[in-house]
């Protein structure tokens, strides 16, 4: 670019000739040049601003368009890092301690009808009634002809039924996928598992929710997608549960009992290996709860964890434990058993008259109510309450079952001296068989508290709080063993397994007050092997009667004890326990025989 000179020679000379100031020419030229420069600068700045404005406009438009697209489009899952989300993963399995499946899911179909789409309503109704016998063709047709746009017909149908409905060829009958909970073992462990039902329902899927038992208790765990389908492992052992249910069922039938319950618990960890309550139900088709009458008569009622019973003389061992541990007595201390013991309007009697006095061991072995009551009086109600509280007999069961957590043991409203005396032999305080099993486990495992649990504990659990000393625990084990060797539970002897235990026979309370004369709850709390117990077994029979003798016998020694012995005989080998005797030499198994 050629610059205009500030002082053009021609102009300067002519100005000089005219006598003007040549500097003014320069000033004028400088002004013009500056104006030019300013104009150029402004145009440049304006264009820059314009470009910048365009950029901003483009940016805002882009953001706006994206926002509008996001707002208008359907939400979509991120595809690349998603888990394979299928309906089958909705609820985790439940397995037993060895990994056998207790509950799993199965994909089935639901059936619904959309009457506006239907062509031949009459034929469809007839065919449906033929496929599903409980549907009524006339009623169906009435519903199809009503104004309804949508009718649920079945929640779960089998693949065969799907095919049959397909074969009707009716476009208004439609299927939706459904996940259903399957309990392959049927009635086995029904009370532990509970059952599941449908929650919120849509056409394409339905929520499966646990309605009772562990299904309800661990509902959020089982449905948590964060677990990635990790199964819930219970402490139950399927094989042991099977054997126990079979033996208990047989015993219940033989003894004409109304109901029965049994619990097998590990004495150290509190793991429940088997829990049976009879009568039971099929969790695949959970019956409806009773709307009238006693809820305890329903098969849904869990007699082992939910049922509260006065467990009778099984409580005497608690009195003995307290007496030994508090230094009130030794196993050989003589206790007065002179009867009948009168206290106000109450009279305490023994089953037989045991004479003037018995040693503490014999009070347990012969099961003397009077001896036990006398001991409890000496110990005092305050200590007794604190001890029973430590054993967990005052609080609801900490077992992982929704229904168990609601049943709080029934205690006397006012703990008078007569309460102290009757509770010392198990009357006036109602607790569940699992309560009893946990308390026995705490006493015989060396004296440390045990929390019953239905979950498999991976490592050895930490030792609980001390309840009684190790020596007391050993003395109690010896007493329990003697009850079987020479006491009320002589039928519990299972060769090789040194069973110890305590019987309890309690009259059933009448609903209106008072007690039945001929209806009892027979309980046997067993430990085996007695020297170093591994398991506690509690068997409770509701209204059993043994009729092989001249007079019907109802005491636990004739009812609950033989059933418990048979359970131990069947279950102990399954648990891998070797009998501590020489096997009979007569049966000489050799491999070469085969």
């Amino acid at each position: 670019m050629i610059r205009t000179p500030l002082r053009p020679l021609a102009a300067v000379i002519s100005a000089r000739d005219k006598g003007e100031d040549p500097d003014r020419i320069m000033a004028e030229n400088l002004r013009i040049r500056h104006e030019d420069m300013r104009d150029r600068e402004r145009i440049r700045a304006e264009s820059r601003l314009l470009v910048l404005a365009l950029f901003f406009l483009a940016g805002f438009v882009a953001v706006g368009v994206r926002m509008a697209m996001l707002a208008a489009s359907n939400p979509q899952e991120p595809r690349a890092d998603g888990y394979a989300t299928t309906i089958s993963m909705q609820r985790a399995d439940i397995i037993d301690r060895n990994g056998a499946i207790l509950a799993t899911n199965l994909i089935t179909n639901s059936l619904y009808a959309q009457p506006p789409l239907m062509i031949d309503k009459e034929t469809a109704a007839l065919h449906l009634a033929r496929i599903f016998p409980d549907l009524n063709a006339e009623k169906l047709l009435r519903e199809f002809n009503s104004n309804r746009k949508f009718i649920w017909l079945r929640r779960k149908i089998s693949p065969e039924q799907v095919q049959q409905v397909h074969d009707i060829g009716e476009p208004g009958l439609l299927f939706g996928p459904r996940e259903m909970r399957l309990y392959p073992n049927g009635n086995l462990a029904a009370h532990v598992l509970g059952g599941a039902g449908f929650g919120r329902e849509g056409v394409h899927s339905a929520e499966v929710i646990g309605v009772a038992g562990v299904e309800h208790q661990f509902d959020s765990f089982l449905r948590d997608p964060a677990n990635e389908g990790e199964p819930l492992q219970l402490s139950l052992d399927l094989t042991v549960q099977t054997a126990m249910r079979r033996v208990l069922g047989g015993g219940m039938k033989l003894l004409a009992a109304k109901g029965a319950a049994a619990v097998l618990m590990d004495v150290k960890s509190g793991e429940v290996l088997a829990l049976v309550s009879l009568p039971d139900f099929d969790p695949n088709a959970r019956p409806r709860p009773l709307t009238k009458g006693d809820a305890a008569d329903s098969p849904l009622f869990n007699r082992a964890a939910q049922g509260l019973y006065e467990l009778g003389s099984t409580f005497k061992i608690f009195t003995a434990a307290l007496a030994l541990d508090g230094g009130f007595a030794t196993p050989d201390t003589m206790v007065s058993t002179r009867g009948p013991l009168k206290w106000g309007k109450y009279t305490i009697r023994d089953f037989h008259d045991y004479g003037r006095e018995l040693s503490l061991t014999d009070v347990i072995v012969k099961s003397s109510n009077i001896g036990s009551a006398n001991l409890a009086l000496e110990i005092g109600g305050g200590r007794q309450q604190a001890f029973l509280d430590d054993l967990g007999l005052f609080s609801p069961l900490p077992l992982e079952l929704a229904e168990a957590r609601h049943s709080r043991p029934l205690l006397p409203k006012r703990w008078s001296e007569i309460s102290t005396m009757t509770i010392s032999y198990g009357h006036g305080l109602a607790a569940s068989p699992v309560h009893l099993a946990a308390a026995y486990a705490s006493l015989v495992n060396g004296g440390t508290s045990v929390q019953p649990t239905l979950l498999k504990t991976g490592s050895r659990p930490p030792t609980g709080a001390r309840i009684v000393s190790t020596e007391t625990s050993a003395a109690l084990r010896s007493m329990l063993r003697q009850v079987v060797q020479r006491g009320t539970a002589s039928m519990a002897e299972v060769p090789g397994y040194q069973v110890g235990g305590k019987t309890g026979t309690a009259d059933k309370p009448k609903p209106g007050g008072g007690y039945y004369k001929d209806r009892v709850i027979a309980t046997f709390a067993a430990i085996f092997p007695a020297q170093a117990p591994k398991y506690v077994l509690v068997v409770t029979l509701d209204e059993p009667v043994e009729t092989s003798g001249v007079k019907p016998r109802r005491t636990a020694g004739w009812t609950a004890v033989p059933v418990a012995a048979e359970i131990i005989r069947r279950v102990a080998p399954i648990l891998g326990m070797r009998p501590a005797i020489d096997p009979p030499a007569a049966i000489n198994y050799t491999l070469s025989d085969y």
Binding site: R79, G186, L188
Partner: protein, 120 residues
């Protein structure tokens, strides 16, 4: 010089656009493949669930007991009892059949030691 630079820049833009286009389609194809695989996985998992349920159902203790009762003559299975525990001494050693020892023992099919010939 300058025009060469412009031409190169334009070529580079075209090249990058081509690459981005290809990557875009490759990504979409991969995503579709992933989706298909995940559908297959889901299906396989569902099938596995059904098989596991069926296995558990067929192996339920009640059915096994009924089967063992039905086949008692052949199987002679009894519930496990304390008497069934035995001592190791009760199990006799299988009688040694020396004739069998004479037969060639094929320790490993491919590298049978030549010494084995000598034993015969």
């Amino acid at each position: 010089m300058r025009s060469v630079f412009f031409a190169l820049a334009a070529l580079a833009v075209i090249g990058l656009a081509w690459w981005a286009y290809n990557e875009n389609y490759a990504t979409q194809a991969a995503l579709q493949r992933v989706e298909k695989l995940q559908r297959q996985l889901g299906q396989a998992r569902e099938d596995l669930g059904v098989l596991r349920a069926e296995w558990a159902y067929l192996n339920r203790p009640e059915r096994l007991r009924e089967l063992s009762d039905l086949n008692f003559e052949r199987l002679q299975l009894m519930p496990l009892a304390p008497e069934h525990f035995g001592e190791v001494e009760q199990v006799s050693f299988p009688r040694l059949e020396f004739d069998e020892l004479r037969a060639p023992v094929d320790v490993s099919a491919e590298t049978a030691p030549p010494a084995a010939e000598g034993i015969q």
